[in-house]
């Protein structure tokens, strides 16, 4: 039980630490934290490696290459690298580094991975449409009191509850 407490904190202090990381970004950089922006830049970079001209002319990805810029030389990418290291260190210190597929008791590995891919595609598309994900749009916009961010947050939970019944076998 002691081990479990060390790895999982009560939600309020855990949330406060996430809030502190957001606040540090406000104070140091004058902007919030986020995760999906770095991933968009990553796909733009990969596609640029395959189709440089088309990607530079792309209405959406082209701005990452304006004036010879490198898409990965950006604040959000540095944040994501820090995030990966932070999570790795925390899991390592708690003895919870383990290669596995997390799923509910009634779910097969293939079913879980198929749904992980499907959910990823939906979330990836939606994060671009909403100009950010749970952190970059939801948490940061929530703290900034942005109307759009609060609507986004409420719609996330509405969408999740709408879909919950259909994928219940995966989780419970």
């Amino acid at each position: 039980m002691k081990m479990k407490f060390a790895s999982r904190w009560p939600p309020v202090p855990a949330g406060i630490l996430i809030g502190i990381s957001m606040l540090l970004a406000f104070v140091v950089a004058g902007r919030g934290i986020g995760a999906s922006g770095a991933m968009t830049r990553f796909v733009a970079w990969v596609q640029h490696g395959l189709f440089p001209a088309a990607t530079e002319q792309s209405a959406y990805f082209g701005r990452y290459f304006a004036d010879g810029a490198h898409p990965l030389n950006d604040y959000v990418v540095f944040l994501l690298v820090g995030l990966l290291v932070g999570s790795f260190v925390a899991a390592w210190m708690s003895g919870e580094l383990r290669i596995e597929v997390l799923r509910g008791p009634r779910s097969s590995i293939a079913y879980r991975l198929a749904l992980a891919l499907t959910g990823g595609v939906l979330a990836g598309f939606a994060a671009r449409l909403a100009r950010g994900c749970t952190s970059g749009q939801g948490l940061v916009g929530g703290a900034e009191l942005s109307v759009g961010a609060w609507v986004f947050l409420m719609c996330i939970f509405a969408g999740g509850w709408m879909g919950a019944w259909f994928v219940r076998k995966q989780w419970i």
């Binding site: 999982r8 309020v12 949330g15 996430i18 809030g19 990381s21 406000f26 140091v28 950089a29 004058g30 995760a35 999906s36 991933m39 968009t40 990553f42 002319q57 959406y60 540095f78 994501l80 820090g82 995030l83 932070g86 999570s87 919870e96 997390l102 799923r103 991975l113 992980a116 891919l117 499907t118 959910g119 990823g120 595609v121 939906l122 979330a123 990836g124 939606a126 994060a127 671009r128 449409l129 909403a130 100009r131 994900c133 952190s135 939801g138 948490l139 929530g142 900034e144 009191l145 942005s146 109307v147 961010a149 947050l153 719609c155 996330i156 969408g159 509850w161 709408m162 989780w171 419970i172």
Partner: protein
């Protein structure tokens, strides 16, 4: 006002980039300890089996909000130099609905999936492969939905402006909503999924969290009694960008 450090010239833009590493580290470290590297815990929020996710989110938002506006109030942070997220109401609502569906189906959002990959979870790797594909589809077919993406623009539109009330009282209301939301979701969780065994550390945890929440409420009350023009000059238009549908247009 010395903050934001990168925009008042206290630190260089190169230094700002390097400082993103420790900030990201804290973020990832906290995501793990919040239990957010486990897809089941995230998905269970939608079945009220574990409402930790919204509670963590409420706490993070309340902390960021009290800090952001509080530091601005005491003259430490120049709020007009902080990038304020613009509102595109309908695209964000539709995006939220699809995003929520993606979360309950996939079990992650991008930040939690990345953090989970770092702990060795294969389902998180697959989720991110999907996420990258979804981002690619959005970007490559941007002209199809570009108009919708840029529609319903309302600027950096805040809740206090929408409600027509002061920023201070709005901050207090958000703190109270966070607490009310937390308690009611806990109540539903205990009704639908009664705990099998009593957590021996429950009492200490409750005292700790109660103390933290009390501090937040006290700060919220201080806010509620400050005139809102002490926080922000609304005559300053916040910079934003609209991405044209066709490149170079």
């Amino acid at each position: 006002m010395i903050a934001p450090l990168a925009k008042t010239g206290v630190i260089s833009s190169a230094m700002n980039l390097w400082l993103a590493l420790p900030i990201g580290f804290v973020f990832g470290f906290a995501l793990f300890h919040a239990g957010f590297t486990d897809s089941r815990r995230i998905a269970w929020a939608f079945y009220f089996k574990d409402v930790g996710v919204p509670v963590v989110m409420f706490s993070a938002i309340a902390t960021g909000m009290l800090g952001l506006w509080g530091l601005s109030l005491i003259g430490f942070l120049d709020i007009s130099k902080v990038y304020m997220l613009p509102t595109f109401l309908l695209p964000m609502a539709v995006g939220g609905l699809i995003f929520g569906l993606g979360m309950v189906i996939g079990g992650y959002c991008p930040g939690t999936a990345a953090a989970s990959i770092a702990t060795g979870k294969i389902d998180a790797v697959i989720f991110i492969v999907g996420f990258l594909l979804g981002s690619l589809i959005f970007g490559d077919f941007f002209p199809v939905w570009g108009d919708f993406y840029n529609s319903d623009y309302m600027g950096a539109f805040r809740l206090d402006q929408w409600l027509g009330m002061g920023l201070g009282p709005t901050v207090l209301i958000i703190v109270l909503i966070a607490i009310g939301g937390t308690l009611s979701m806990r109540f539903v969780q205990n009704k639908v999924w009664p705990p099998a065994e009593e957590d021996p550390q429950r009492k200490q945890v409750m005292i700790l969290q109660g103390a933290l929440i009390t501090v937040a409420v006290l700060i919220g009350f201080v806010f509620a009694f400050f005139p809102s023009n002490a926080f922000i000059d609304d005559t300053v238009e916040t910079p934003y960008y609209i991405i044209p549908k066709v490149s170079g247009a």
